[in-house]
Symmetry: C2
Subunit: 460 residues, 2 copies
């Protein structure tokens, strides 16, 4: 891989400049205002793929945003790696908390990244990371060192649940056939700890609404006599956890696959500093399920979080209304064993059952996804471990993530192959938050490491 | 009062046209955008007062919006009635629920008002009602039948807590000296039930904020391990009532003056139809404090309502954040005996005490006000009862209201006189809500009744 690595070193600045082109387009899938930007981003991704040397580059239509496809088949007897990524990004709000524009990429030095970090929405999630694969591929192609077949599938709806990816995969099984799927959309444990995510949480997402009176009421004339939908919604949400931090939805934990004591002991080896953790996000104290430590609570245990809540008068000053209704967005992170559709149904049934008779409750389920585990003796894991160990100069370790990439379970079901999560982000990238950033070190390390994954996977 | 009543009958249309002039100005005290409209409304009120025949009409400056003053002193040996009203109105939002513009007054026939109702923000609260007094005064002046002295004090901050009225009253005790205060800002029990409000609830108002992390976090990476301010806020709010609908704030009920069984039996005589009540506001069922009926719960019992709540992502679609903070606006209606400042302090202490250590809670108290009672053997009550009985042709009855007019207690403390609540509104006026309206019948009935109050009060 020497020629590949040399090529990478010689083209670093251009790689960054090209990534900036991608980052400038506000490809916000959640908001239909950005349809044209989404299509422009798909086009640009396809162009970069073609320039890198891919064949059969297509912008494949779906019922939603298109999937960008490309491939290089060098020998049908060689293994095939399918690279997945997504070109859409999270909405940037709240805008006023960004120090530079979310779509005006800029390199800034930080404490964690003295050599600089790329500040922009999508720099880590996922444009910076999927682009590493395009550049690694370009390098291997230019060097004539591509060791096996590769296919690229870059979708545009990951941030809104990849609703149409299932159909795309089902309708293109032959085209997408592969021996392993490679995904860079996760983080390292720390910048100097080569680490591979071997587990993801699943997701259930429900919007709920509690309605009281048909119209807003004067809280003097009616207060005390009628159900106040905000008070009722709060009370119901408060009931969703018990005093030990356990979720009270009936049947919620039934299918949870518990980790053995040995596995928990392995996990505990991953470096973790509680004081730094609290300080990095500015919380007074941690809080969670009794009987589990922080790194278990945020990865191998299921959760329930209210992501948004609103009702009544929220403007300046005082307005004493009893509002007609109150609403909330609630998501649950799931662990292997838990089926998202079953959990969503259990949640809705439970939530409706704890509502007082005086109000009307409606629940609206959204997209979900299963949890996932990659065994550490699998071919894909071993190749990734070897690659990272090589480029970092120390042994890579496995760890579990709290995040969800719902399509990973979909891929296993529909294409029959495992996904290797070869991520180079960091928690401090603050994806989904303002001032998202991706270390320049991490970007280049990814580009350098990927060709070694190809090499070791092809050799195995 | 014959000449007065004839004058009223002959000038009905003009009275309505003039009221419409007042209603067209968006005098929204809660929003500083409307400063000029507020001052214009004060000026127009002053002009009307002058045209009606008042002397010494002034627009009196305060640290906030001005108070409009005017008087007619005919004989220092006669009693003096001080008329209080307010020219500011509630914000009209949500705008999209208004069927006609909130500041485009129009008469529409309704089921309750086949002869028409005036639809506009402020038509019942309070422009339509205080304007009845200006027209009744004008009629008595034109007819030469004014039986006693009268003073007018129309302020501009009632909807935002009358912050500066206290100082105004204290600085103008001599000017405002009176034997009784007359206020029209409440309702009748029903359109055909002459009734006088003899009790008001007090008010405490607090804004609360629960803060978790310093910034919004990804709910996959952090969910389960950190306090979610929305979940915490909901849980704390849920704890504010027990399963019997009683407020759990420590010491909350200590000073409540309970009604005797006899008083409760008297209250129960006021006509009330539960099915109609539920239907009129579209609730599935009532809900409230165990051991009390609806008309007690909304008038003689204290309450706690969340008027607004917000936190996290509330836009279209899904965004899985753990927000940095969540906020709520909470108000408590109080009953005689309860001191608003003490209750506010008890609430803040209690709320802070039930917060988990993992979050930061801040409480911001707002304006408050005491509850109030008018004894039914008082001179003012008896004159009002006689006047209403005369114009309605059936005996007027006393009742307690759930609403608050904080300055009524202030008046008693600073000016040493009782306030008579001679209101002509109806609950169906839906004050504070979209499509606020005031019956044309009610508007004229008020103008006709007020001169009889003056007559009977002067004679007593």
């Amino acid at each position: 891989m020497d020629a590949t690595q040399n090529y990478i070193q010689e083209n670093k600045q251009r790689f960054l400049d090209e990534l900036f082109e991608l980052l400038r387009i506000p490809s916000i899938s959640a908001d239909p205002v950005y349809v044209q930007d989404m299509l422009d981003t798909a086009q640009k991704t396809a162009d970069f793929l073609k320039e890198a040397g891919a064949d059969n580059v297509e912008i494949c239509e779906t019922a939603g945003y298109p999937v960008v496809y490309g491939e290089k088949i060098i020998d049908e007897n060689l293994p095939t790696i399918l690279v997945y990524g997504h070109y859409d990004v999270q909405p940037p709000d709240p805008l006023d908390l960004w120090e530079s524009g979310p779509f005006e990429p800029v390199i800034k030095k930080t404490e964690i990244h003295p050599e600089g970090a790329i500040f922009a929405r999508g720099s880590a999630d996922d444009k910076g990371q999927f682009f590493m694969h395009l550049k690694a591929f370009e390098a291997m192609m230019s060097a004539g060192e591509l060791p096996c077949n590769v296919k690229f599938m870059i979708e545009g709806e990951e941030e809104v649940g990849s609703e149409n990816l299932g159909d795309f995969v089902k309708n293109n099984r032959e085209k997408l056939a592969n021996d392993v799927i490679l995904i860079s959309d996760t983080s390292l444990v720390a910048k100097d700890v080569p680490s591979l995510c071997t587990g993801l949480r699943g997701l259930s997402y429900v919007e709920v609404k509690v309605k009281g009176p048909d119209l807003d009421l004067h809280s003097g004339l009616y207060g005390g006599a009628v159900p106040n939908p905000i008070n009722v919604l709060c009370d119901m949400i408060g009931q969703l956890h018990d005093e030990n931090g356990k979720i009270t939805v009936k049947g919620f934990y039934d299918d949870v696959i518990e980790l053995s004591d040995e596995e928990r002991a392995e996990m505990a080896k991953v470096p973790f500093d509680l004081e730094n953790y609290k300080k990095s996000i500015g919380i007074k104290d941690i809080q969670g399920e009794e009987g589990y430590v922080t790194m278990e609570r945020n990865s191998i245990r299921p959760t329930l979080d209210v992501n948004g809540i609103w009702g009544g008068y929220t403007g300046e000053g005082a307005k004493t209304v009893i509002p007609s209704y109150a609403e909330a967005k609630i998501s649950m992170r799931l662990v292997p064993g838990q089926d998202p559709e079953k959990i969503t149904q259990l949640f809705c049934e439970h939530f409706e059952s704890i509502a007082p008779d005086s109000v009307e409750v409606t629940t609206k389920p959204h997209h979900g996804g299963k949890g996932y585990v990659l065994p550490i003796d699998s071919k894909g894991y071993l190749a990734a471990k070897k690659a990272m160990t090589h480029t970092f100069g120390k042994e890579a370790i496995p760890f579990r993530s709290g995040g969800s990439i719902p399509i990973v379970a979909l891929f296993e079901e529909e294409l029959g192959s495992k996904s290797v999560l070869l991520g180079f982000g960091l928690d401090s990238d603050v994806i989904h938050s303002p001032n998202e950033n991706f270390g320049v070190f991490n970007f280049y390390k990814g580009i350098e490491t990927i060709p070694f994954f190809f090499k070791y996977f092809a050799e195995a």
